[in-house]
């Protein structure tokens, strides 16, 4: 039956090729919309969990690094958290502006003071990590290495508290590049360096035991919400967000994206249905005489329905296969445009080609193909045999 359907489609190769291309475009758009609808959220969640830290603690009323506000008593809170057997790691982070001399001017750097034993901000690409309480080491991002030419083992000058316009530094420190790292939350091209938290505090003259954020890694995922709740009770003056809370907030901000995706996806599905229905209706009309003959020689109504649906399924499958490739290519292209927005973490993607999303889009199109074939198939099966043969004979 599939072979017969395939051969039938070769009767009008150009017409069917154009229809398949139309279905492919609809399939590509649907796939892109399905990837867009959930992709950014999944990508955000994946990014947040890339080092397994499920909880972020930030100053009250803020999101991590949303403002320049800092937490008081960060080191002691972080130490208390590390004492909890349910927590495998916790580390405070303090952001600050650092500079690197570059000829006559200064190169601004995003500095992060970390506790290396509990940091969830970077992964080491080469060299070694900072040691706990390291007062002479620095780790640099790839973009810093590219711009400055710094290599692991180099001794470099870091300037703090400066007025870039005047090129005047308030303090300077010579540090040894311990390694090159990949910053997980940095924007594309962002020049980020990391030093130990006490050194950052000393360099930026941050008052007291302050941090921008504390990251917490819980041993068992199912205990994350309970631990978050306990931290809220323990430190009511801070904002405690689990990754699921952050993702939920993010999802709220993405409502428009999802609605847009849903509308465009539905439209593309309807376009696909209309294309298949139109083509099969024309095909059935052209072949009514042939269908009446098949019925006359003993092919059942269900046999006719199966034959028409098989042609619809083949068209949809061919369109799906091309549409899948087209969708992935266009998603990559569109993702390149959208992720080039300044300030957006490089790890964020708008279109995530999840196998489940691809399967959902393909399944939706196949079901749509079945629906699209239903009317022409029913019409073919109900065609009056004798009347059709009479018309054919005249």
């Amino acid at each position: 039956m599939i072979l017969l359907a395939a051969r039938n489609l070769t009767r009008h190769p150009l017409r069917n090729l154009l229809a398949v291309l139309g279905i492919a475009v609809a399939a590509a758009l649907l796939l892109d919309m399905v990837m867009l609808a959930g992709g950014m959220e999944r990508s955000f969640q994946r990014m947040l969990l890339s080092r397994g830290y499920q909880i972020r603690i930030a100053p009250k009323g803020t999101l991590p690094f949303d403002t320049e506000a800092t937490l008081a008593g960060a080191a002691s809170l972080s130490a208390r958290l590390r004492a909890d057997p349910r927590i495998s790691a916790a580390g405070a982070v303090l952001g600050g502006a650092l500079f690197a001399p570059a000829g006559d001017s200064l190169l601004p750097l995003a500095g992060l003071g970390v506790e290396p034993e509990g940091q969830g901000l970077y992964e080491l690409d080469s060299g070694t990590d900072l040691g706990p309480g390291d007062t002479t080491g620095i780790v640099i991002g790839v973009s810093v290495a590219q711009v400055t030419g710094w290599r692991t083992g180099d001794t470099v000058r870091i300037i703090v508290g400066t007025d870039p316009q005047m090129a005047r530094a308030s303090s300077e420190r010579r540090l040894v590049v311990r390694g090159v790292v990949h910053w997980l939350y940095a924007a594309r091209g962002q020049r980020t360096v990391g030093i130990a938290l006490p050194l950052m505090r000393a360099l930026t003259r941050a008052a007291g035991d302050r941090a921008s954020m504390i990251m917490v890694k819980v041993v068992r995922d199912e205990e994350v919400e309970a631990v978050a709740s306990d931290i809220r009770s323990m430190a009511p003056g801070v904002e405690v967000n689990s990754v699921s809370t952050l993702v939920a907030r993010f999802r709220t901000r993405l409502t428009y994206f999802r609605q847009l995706s849903l509308i465009l996806g539905t439209i593309s599905l309807f376009v696909g249905i209309l294309l298949v229905t139109t083509l099969l209706t024309i095909t059935v009309s052209e072949r009514l005489g042939e269908i009446a003959t098949l019925r006359a020689i003993g092919v059942s109504r269900s046999g006719i329905v199966r034959r028409v649906l098989a042609e619809g399924a083949l068209l949809t499958l061919a369109g799906n296969a091309i549409g899948l490739l087209l969708g992935l290519v266009t998603a990559r292209y569109l993702d390149g445009i959208l992720t080039s927005f300044p300030g957006l973490p490089a790890a964020i993607s708008f279109f995530v080609p999840e196998p489940a999303a691809v399967a959902r889009a393909a399944a939706a199109l196949l079901v749509a193909g079945g629906i699209a074939g239903a009317w022409p198939a029913w019409r073919a099966a109900r065609a009056p045999i004798a009347a059709t043969l009479r018309e054919e004979a005249t």
Binding site: G289, G298, A386
Partner: protein, 237 residues
């Protein structure tokens, strides 16, 4: 003829076609009985109801009143799928315009009804090759329908009609689209089939074909009329 001995029995068939305000009585109470092994020709002028009678006898259309039965099985009580099954297994059809599937080869066209009847691939291929040999087209097995001449297409259509070894073969103007000599080959094929025991019912304008029949039913205005003398003109309607 007694209905009890008839293979195909049709009683008091009435069929009216409505065309807008107008209605045309195609059959006005026609009764026909066909015995096993008979070769029946149905003749008559255009619009006399020949094809309508054939369609009703073959279970392709239903009469407004009257009844048809094949081997004692009344069509009236059958569901569409049961009637379709009866057509598949007990009746063969040959049409004026052949109606082969153009995308299939001659062999595959013949296999089609057998596949529908659930005959296994090896058996249906063997049977289809035998049938092609029977109709004299062994060398055309792998040619697509579009690559065959009119006469060849009609012979493949006859082979297709015989695929499930039917009890009864219906043909509607089987030589209507063929030239004289090709038509003769088809006539010869029907004669041979009938001589081998196949019951054949043919609707035709072709006098030669009608003369081949062991019995002729002549229709005029939806009624059975006396068969006209070939020497005298066809009666005016």
């Amino acid at each position: 003829m007694s209905a009890a001995t008839a293979l195909l029995d049709a009683r008091d068939l009435v069929k009216e076609f409505r065309m807008g305000e107008r209605s045309v009585m195609a059959l006005r109470g026609v009764s026909v009985a066909v015995r096993q092994g008979e070769y029946v020709g149905i003749t008559g002028p255009s619009g006399s109801g020949k094809s309508t009678l054939l369609h009703i006898l073959g279970g392709l259309d239903t009469p407004d009143s009257g009844a048809v039965s094949l081997e004692g099985v009344a069509f009236l009580g059958l569901t569409d799928s049961a009637l379709t099954r009866l057509r598949l297994l007990k009746m063969g059809y040959v049409f004026q315009r052949f109606h082969l599937l153009p995308v299939l080869t001659a062999l595959e066209n013949i296999e089609l009804p057998m596949a529908e009847a659930g005959v296994g691939r090896a058996e249906r291929q063997a049977r289809a090759r035998d049938l092609l040999e029977y109709v004299g087209l062994s060398d055309r097995a792998d040619h697509r329908a579009t690559q065959l001449s009119g006469g060849e297409m009609q012979r493949v259509a006859i082979a297709r009609a015989l695929a499930n070894r039917p009890t009864l073969l219906f043909a509607d103007e089987p030589t209507g689209e063929l030239d004289l000599s090709t038509g003769r080959q088809i006539l010869e094929l029907f004669r041979r089939l009938n001589q081998e025991g196949m019951t054949v019912v043919v609707v035709t304008h072709d006098e030669q074909l009608a003369q081949e029949a062991s019995r002729t039913i002549h229709l005029i205005d939806g009624l059975i009329a006396p068969v006209p003398n070939p020497q005298s003109p066809i009666p005016a309607r």
